[in-house]
């Protein structure tokens, strides 16, 4: 269904038959839009089957916008952003950050003191919001601990604790308070939450950079479909740390001001931190939103820049449509990856303009929260579910003059709209892509 969108040439931009037509600028594009010569669609990539939708019976998020759904809903409605001037790093770095207040004075409860670090503190703060912890415990009680999976997404986990240990070395050794080995592995969040919740089902961390906590929805769906679990607790948590702030700075991808996704004057990302949670079950109230589908793919192009034709993203989109049974015309809202880097937004803008009717609405919420990296997938899933609940398309905060490659779908300001079906895009380093499809619950 996505293979016949190029109105100008009549050519498929990704030939299903393996052809690779040179692409002419299509209607609605500036002539200087990136010239795209897509590779052939890999013929071995099988089209997946429809999946049975899963109910999202509880969800919450904590980010620079605040703790819980009400704070996030209010921020979206009132266009209140959460970015501030960087006050996190000791070495000055002129940029904006999306910081969660108060973590410095919120140690984990004594029973979990061994796991104390910024990332696990944010996880614990976040999981307590909106009654999520109670809902998770009730699911464990209802199904049995061995029937509840715990699937985590993070990019850097608690590497902040490792950085701290290196700053405070004692005779070349980690200080005693930071010698718990678990803190220095990518699964730190997983061991902490598995211990705190007492789940006994499969437990695994997905760490695929900025697609991590989108992919956990796909992984959880598979675990339920294959019968290894009856419910899955999903958590995506990433926190501010030196690695990401100075690492992205070294790649010259950090904006000196608050990020401006899709704006002609965009200059890069603003890094944020967040914790997002979702509970997936086979059945739920008719009013509960649904996970309708997902698509995962690899760009096979470059470690830190997207495929110029968005090939991986297009394949992920095709699979999300195939699994959900949706078509481009059925999508009311797309929460874009929209990091505000020059390249990501150019490729993603062309993808949206190509693939969706003019009436579809699309925006990036990174201007509100910053790019929360491994937590972005689930944070933006939660924002999308809130947008559905409230019947608003959140505007692309901080952006005023869209890049000419953007199609008419881009929403700069808030719009009122009934959202029945929505997508969220997540694209990570290593060319790792994941697109999720959500459906609204029935209104009461």
């Amino acid at each position: 269904m996505i293979d016949s969108f190029d109105d100008a040439t009549g050519n498929p931009a990704i030939g299903v038959d393996g052809s690779s037509p040179a692409r002419q600028p299509a209607r609605g594009f500036a002539q200087n839009a990136c010239v795209i010569i897509p590779r052939p669609r890999p013929t071995h990539c099988r089209v997946p089957s429809r999946i049975v939708p899963l109910a999202i019976t509880a969800f919450t998020a904590t980010s620079a916008l605040g703790r819980g759904r009400a704070a996030h809903g209010e921020a979206l409605r009132s266009q209140r952003g959460g970015l501030r001037a960087n006050d996190f790093t000791e070495t000055p770095l002129a940029c904006a950050i999306g910081r969660v207040d108060g973590l410095e004075t919120l140690p984990l409860p004594g029973a979990f003191a061994d796991y104390d670090c910024r990332n696990n503190r944010l996880a614990w703060l976040g999981i307590g919001a909106d009654g999520f912890l109670d809902a998770a415990r009730a699911a464990i009680e209802r199904y049995g601990a061995d029937r509840v999976a715990l699937v985590l997404g993070t990019s850097t986990g608690s590497i902040g604790a490792t950085e701290e240990a290196y700053r405070d070395l004692e005779d070349g050794r980690f200080p005693a308070r930071l010698r718990n080995r678990v803190l220095h592995t990518p699964h730190s969040l997983g061991v902490f939450l598995e211990t705190a919740l007492g789940t006994r089902g499969p437990c695994i961390t997905v760490a695929t950079a900025c697609s991590s906590s989108a992919k956990i929805f796909a992984q959880a769906e598979r675990l339920l479909r294959v019968g290894l679990a009856d419910a899955a607790i999903l958590a995506g948590v990433d926190t501010l740390c030196g690695s990401v702030l100075f690492g992205f700075n070294a790649l010259e991808l950090v904006s000196p001001q608050a990020c401006r996704p899709f704006d002609v004057a965009r200059r890069g990302i603003s890094i944020g931190e967040a914790a997002g949670f979702a509970l997936l079950e086979r059945d739920g109230a008719a009013t509960a939103p649904r996970l309708l589908g997902y698509g995962e793919s690899s760009d096979a192009h470059h470690m830190s820049t997207p495929h110029p034709a968005g090939l991986g993203a297009r394949l992920a989109l095709a699979d999300a449509f195939a699994r959900s049974g949706l078509t481009p015309g059925a999508i009311d809202y797309i929460n874009l990856h929209g990091t505000a880097t020059v390249k990501n937004d150019a490729v993603e803008a062309v993808l949206v303009a190509d693939m969706f009717p003019a009436g579809a609405r699309a925006s990036s919420t990174k201007g509100f929260t910053g790019h929360t990296l491994g937590a972005a997938g689930i944070l933006e899933a939660v924002l999308t579910l809130l947008a559905m609940e409230q019947g608003i398309v959140p505007g692309t905060l901080n952006s005023t003059a869209p890049d000419p490659v953007c199609g008419p779908q881009l929403a700069l300001s808030n719009e009122t709209r009934t959202i029945r079906a929505a997508l969220t895009n997540s694209f990570g380093f290593g060319g790792n892509n994941c697109i999720l499809a959500f459906g609204s619950g029935r209104t009461q």
Binding site: L223, S243, F429
Partner: protein, 270 residues
């Protein structure tokens, strides 16, 4: 879907890759495993990783070389084009060398962080290099699960193979800790292993596994004393009982650590 009435998953192994110091493929490893012999645990040799183009091979981080080497071996044995296979890469620690270098730089002069080192620091760096080298556009994942990293990655790979009815590449690896991290992380040598799994039995089937998630911890594995040093030296060696069973090609059941208090029971079917 290849699932038994008890909810177990059944998958068939079509290819096996192995690289540990001095034991550079599955046939060499199988000999040692059959005999219960000692594995070398030292040396500075690097995996050949010829699947990577020469310029990438020269600059690729150690985990990338290791993971790509074993992944390529498994695909070659399975006679499967890597481009077509969804892939799952598992590692308990990720790139311990880059973490040491990055944290050392951050502690002294954060503005000197190397951009290349940073983008190579992501846990999915091997998946990224692998998909680029093999032109694989299928789903790729990078997972971690503490001591259960091998088992959790194997289970996810088997799930993927069963629900989407596709052969799947699974590779697990860890390298040695260095610098101050070596004081807390128990990992002193590189080791990687890979499997190509298929939910369908076919002419390429080498062995068949029946996987069952256990909601209790695994008992300590009974391994030959000669292999104790190997198990101490690298977390992915938690997989050794499975590979020993595959080398001996006799029906048996092994149990590998998975979650904090759970395990993966694997029946190797004759």
């Amino acid at each position: 879907m290849a699932r038994t009435e008890q909810g177990d998953l059944i998958v068939h192994i079509e290819g096996i890759g192995w690289w540990s110091p001095g034991v550079v493929d599955w046939s060499a490893a199988a000999l040692l495993l059959r005999d219960g012999a000692a594995f070398p645990t030292g040396g500075n040799a690097k995996p050949a990783a010829t699947i990577l183009p020469p310029h990438e091979r020269r600059r690729a981080p150690a985990p990338v070389l290791l993971a790509c080497e074993v992944a390529a071996q498994a695909c070659a044995m399975a006679d499967r084009a890597a481009a077509a296979l969804p892939c799952v890469f598992a590692s308990m620690h990720g790139d311990l060398a880059i973490t040491d270098e990055l944290c050392t730089t951050l502690a002294t002069d954060p503005l000197e962080v190397s951009p290349t080192r940073f983008h190579n620091s992501v846990h999915n760096a091997p998946a990224g290099y692998w998909t680029i080298a093999t032109q694989c556009h299928a789903a790729s994942s990078a997972v971690s699960a503490w001591r259960g990293s091998f088992a959790a990655g194997l289970l996810e790979s088997a799930v993927l193979a069963c629900v989407d009815e596709t052969p799947v590449l699974f590779a697990a690896y860890d390298i040695a800790a260095q610098g101050a991290l070596a004081g807390v992380i128990q990992a002193t040598m590189p080791f990687g292993a890979a499997l190509v799994l298929n939910a369908k039995r076919g002419p390429r089937t080498l062995a068949t596994l029946r996987l069952h998630h256990e909601s209790h911890a695994a008992p300590a594995a009974a391994l030959p004393a000669a292999q104790a040093a190997f198990v101490e030296a690298t977390p992915i060696a938690h997989s050794l009982p499975l590979f020993a069973a595959l080398a001996r090609a006799n029906a048996c059941r092994v149990q590998l650590p998975n979650g904090a208090a759970t395990s993966l029971s694997i029946e190797v079917l004759a």
